[in-house]
Amino acid sequence: MTNYVQFDPTTGEITGGRSGPRVDNPTAPQSGQEVLQTDQRAYASRDYVDTDTNEIKQRPTFDAFDKTEIAADGQDVATVSNLPEGTTVTVDDAQSWTVDDGVFAFSTNTPATYTVRVENWPYQVYETEITAT
């Protein structure tokens, strides 16, 4: 069995795929997409296609926040470090920040649980909850 992995040639993002017998001319991809024929299994949430080498690689992961429980005093911070330039951090799907200096520090004055999402292709999306009490 061969895996046919459809991907976006500009980003390497996997956009589809199927398994089946090896054929010379695999099913035509969707417009603007390409298909890679491989023995490797690929998962869109975990992998991407290195468009320079046409290899499937695992998407890197972000470091985790140093803590997920903070005091709601506007002073205590939860910090995530080693972020690549241009990383987007979104809180509660309500507000986003672009981090270019590698470190994001979150604080709040309102006791609540906050959903924080960290994204920067091809990194795996990192989502966690920070509880402020």
């Binding site: 506007g74 911070v77 910090t79 951090v89 809180v91 509660d92 309500a94 507000q95 920040w97 981090v99 270019d100 200096d101 470190v103 994001f104 520090a105 979150f106 604080s107 709040t108 004055n109 309102t110 006791p111 609540a112 649980t113 906050y114």
Partner: protein, 138 residues
């Protein structure tokens, strides 16, 4: 370091909590005294209007108070009572007074108090607590 201080937007939580309180209050009213159906609701309204009109009528007739007459006839036939139009009018006025001053007022108070507390709440937990009205205790 990109340092941010972000406070949760409580507006949508407040909106949801208030809608929940309104819905529960309406369900509580319906559970207690409103029978589903526009026609039946209209019948209640007309009966209530007749009940208050008859209070000052020294010589009521069935023609002027058809809803009360129907209620009187239903009770007299089903329960073998001998009620008059005035008796039934008094009964309806008593029920209306009880609902307006008793259960109805209690539901309104609970609903309004909850919504004001939701407005005043400063955390999601406080909003949730304010919306958790014990309707069965009313």
């Amino acid at each position: 370091m990109t340092a941010v201080t972000y406070d949760k937007d409580l507006t949508p939580l407040r909106r949801q909590a208030k809608a929940k309180v309104d819905n529960r209050a309406e369900r509580e009213r319906q559970r207690r005294w409103i029978t589903p159906g526009d026609g039946q609701q209209q019948e209640y309204v007309m009966t209530r209007e007749e009940a208050f009109a008859i209070a000052d009528d020294g010589d009521p007739s069935d023609t002027d108070y058809p809803q009360l007459a129907a209620e009187r006839d239903a009770q007299n036939e089903a329960l073998s009572t001998t009620k008059t139009l005035a008796d039934v009018g008094q009964e309806v006025r008593s029920i209306v007074a009880q609902r307006n001053g008793g259960d109805g007022a209690a539901i309104k108070k609970a609903r309004r108090r909850a919504k004001l507390q939701i407005d005043a709440a400063t955390t999601p937990a406080d909003i949730e607590a304010a919306a958790a009205v014990d309707w069965s205790a009313l």
